[in-house]
Amino acid sequence: MQARVVSQLRAIVGSAGIVGDPAALLAYESDGLTLKRQRPELVLLPKNTDETARCMALLHEHGIPLVPRGAGTGLSGGATPVPHGVLVGTARMRDVLELNVEDRFARVQAGVVNVDLTRCCDGEGLFYAPDPSSQMACTIGGNVAENSGGPHCFKYGSTTRHILGLVIVTATGQVLHLDEPEVDPLGFDLVGLFVGCEGMFGVATEITVQLTPSPPVTETLLAIFKALDPCCDAVTDLIAARLEPSAIEILDKLTIQAVEASVFAAGYPQEAEAVLLLEIEGREAAVEDTVERILPILKAHGLIEVRRARDASERRQLWAGRKGAFGAMGRIAPDLYVADVVVPRTRLREIVRYATDVCTERELKISNVFHAGDGNLHPNISYDRRDEEEVRRVLEAGDLIMEACLEHGGSLSGEHGVGLEKQAMMDRLFTPDDLSVMARVRHCLDPDERLNPGKMIPLRACLEVRPAGSRSSG
């Protein structure tokens, strides 16, 4: 990159807002998908919308591609840098700009960490509902880009349901103010369109989120099963019975053992083949009623024991185990491939079983910890990326699991996004016309494809799927 451009960018963001030292850039080579790595030319860390817009206008002027990045906790390679490109990070945009308790919304900068937003509302009887497992580190901006989920999205829905408004900066540096915290958009639902765009429409710099009243009563149950299959079947039956807990999570034996051996130890029984972590929220009578209806279903599927969190401290501990599970897997092997697929909730058992078989056949270590209530599976494969042969088997297993999900009416991603990881599978799920329309919509805001290029929409013979005649070479 030309020294003159770097100098101009430095003038915008200051020395603290630019990272160019090769050693420091190592930290930005990948997001949570460590299989894909690329060192960026430069990392920019603007402090606000204005700095972001000025940086992006300058990058536009020089035709430099860029990749937006929150905390880099994404697992699909959405924030993997691109060759000769710049990373635009939101790490210095950490301010809560407005907290409106009466109208139940908050306006925050994109770099605010998910859990900090809920902490900020603590005491006001409100919370921010989407709670990805990485919520201690991931940012609201990153959540918007990936339409992140989390355990409690079973009741409250993914990020998109909680976003009221956005300020975004487009590829050219133009600033768009999308909607006020009112009930419906004026014109097209651009906010809904933007959420989940994986950084390909623009960089969100300010976000208005809906806050949710804290439930008066929360009951957390840990149901212990003697096998994984009946645990899955119990969830299928809970859904069929139209019961509405706020979270339904499954952890299998290998996950339990990893968690219990780690700093996230939650008191899960290590002899169990599977546990079901359930949370039920609401008014006292409603919670009791739901629990009474849940228990017979669990018992019908071989429940060994059910434990109730006795207080908030025990509840936090149970959830710390669940949310720390991915981190705990580091005890099994140095690297972890976290698959993220969705299936109809009537098909949980067979896909979980299939994923286990596929990995066993390939001598891979698989553990399962997933949002069972949403049909959102995370078969996790532990491996060592220095072993090329093992990496090959991991990727093969991942592809087979995704294919099986598609065959059973499932989808490629429930909450992590497509990014680089699943890009090649997109044409298994969508027709060329489906993908072409996506590309056309993307081109409306970024005709030069400089924003997070080469992600999500698959490449075919060096040509991204796009409308005929829009561009002839790639």
Partner: protein, 409 residues
């Protein structure tokens, strides 16, 4: 045009005349595609519709300006209903009534609870971005659309999303299409999330001649831990009425009813089928033939001030979803042929509401009034993005409305 209709007839595609405009009634996606391809080749302006109940507020004046009306009412099959997964996939021409009955067999409800579900198609409801009184609990329809299949003006068929309750694969184009009022595509098929049907229903109503006597009770309701199915303040029958509709089960439901009763001090408490009928009455408040309709949006904190101001205006019927910050206004005489004075009054109404921090959106008003009131987006770049999306998906302007998304022609 006659030649086109004859060609379509030879291909077995049904057509009829509606107010001097040909109305084609394809029976499947292939026929929709065939109609659109021909219209595209001939540069015909096409107006997508369901049963046509919202033609007067989606695209005022456009029904007359269209070369061709295209109704999806004959695409009326349920494609996939999976009660065990709580999802439904249906073609756009299914009526809401048909779908409500279908999902009930699996123990579910559908949102939105629109007025006259027999006369509303799924595609029409999605295209218009409708919501009903149940939005208080269930949220807006766009949050529950899992996926859509659409036809673009050139006949291209495309899908986004899927049939799963959780899915982030690809861009959420279904969010763009929902509420796009027929300006981007013809909706063909939709997948929806379903909601468990509750065992118990209760409808509580307090009536007062003065709005002021209800506002404090209304404010107190918000502090309750209760999650109402519907929460409406209206004056359609003369006096002001505050309705709270509750659904639930057993002891928990009884607790909710008791809490609301304590705050509301209702004159009427209806249960079971009586409650269901009362809820249907709330749905039906939308139906006011011959009246102009507009919607006012504000923040919850501004709602009491807004309602006080509206109560002082003459001849307005108010239907406020108070928990949401949404008021639907019915205005006598603002239907098909308002006078210049009446249109001027509309302009004043809009100005006054803007000063109150509220936004007025015209719905069922004549084209002239619509143009007077057409909301404009303060932020021009956002509007440019909308027009760019229209231009890209509909380069010939076949589906384009002069009044939507927000700039006057």
């Amino acid at each position: 045009m006659q030649a086109l209709l004859e060609t379509l007839a030879r291909e077995g595609i049904e057509a009829e005349w509606r107010d001097n405009t040909p109305l084609v009634l394809p029976r499947d996606e292939t026929e929709v595609q065939a109609v659109l391809r021909r219209a595209h080749g001939l540069n015909l302006r096409v107006l997508p519709m369901g049963l046509g109940s919202k033609l007067d507020w989606c695209r005022p004046g456009q029904a007359e300006a269209a070369d061709l009306l295209l109704s999806t009412r004959h695409l009326n099959s349920v494609v996939d209903h999976v009660p065990g997964d709580g999802t439904l996939t249906a073609q756009a021409g299914c009526t809401l009534s048909q779908l409500e009955q279908r999902v009930l067999t699996g123990g579910h409800r559908l949102t939105p609870a629109v007025p006259n579900p027999e006369g509303a198609t799924l595609g029409g409801v999605l295209g218009a971005g409708l919501s009903g009184p149940d939005r208080q609990k269930r949220g807006p329809l766009r949050h529950h659309v899992l996926g859509l299949r659409v036809a673009l003006p050139d006949g291209t068929l495309a899908r986004s999303g899927g049939r799963l309750v959780k899915n982030v694969t690809g861009f959420d184009l279904h969010r763009l299409y929902t509420g796009s009022r027929g300006t981007l595509c013809v909706l063909l098929e939709a997948s929806l999330r379903l909601f468990p049907r509750a065992d118990d229903h209760t409808h509580l109503v307090r009536e007062e001649s003065e709005l002021e006597l209800l506002l404090q009770r209304n404010a107190d309701l918000r502090s309750l831990e209760v999650e109402p199915l519907a929460w409406t303040l209206e004056n359609h029958a003369g006096p002001w009425r505050l309705h709270v509709a509750l659904e639930g089960r057993g002891r928990a439901h009884a607790q909710d009813v008791e809490d609301v009763r304590r705050v509301l001090a209702p004159q009427r408490v209806l249960r079971g089928t009586d409650a269901d009928e009362a809820f249907d009455g709330l749905r039906a408040l939308e139906l006011r033939g011959g009246w102009g309709e507009a919607r006012v949006l504000t923040r919850h904190s501004q709602m009491a001030a807004l309602l006080r101001w509206l109560a002082d205006q003459e001849g307005l019927l108010v239907n406020a979803q108070v928990g949401l910050g949404e008021v639907r206004l019915h205005m006598p005489g603002f239907g098909q042929a308002p006078s210049a004075t009446q249109i001027e009054r509309l302009g004043s109404l809009r100005k006054a509401l803007t000063a109150l921090g509220a936004r007025l959106e015209p719905r069922s008003v004549c084209a002239q009034a619509h143009l007077e009131l057409a909301p404009t987006l303060a932020d021009e770049p956002a509007l440019s993005w909308m027009f760019s999306l229209q231009q890209d998906l509909d380069p010939k302007g076949q589906f384009r409305s002069p009044c939507f998304p927000g700039r006057q022609a």
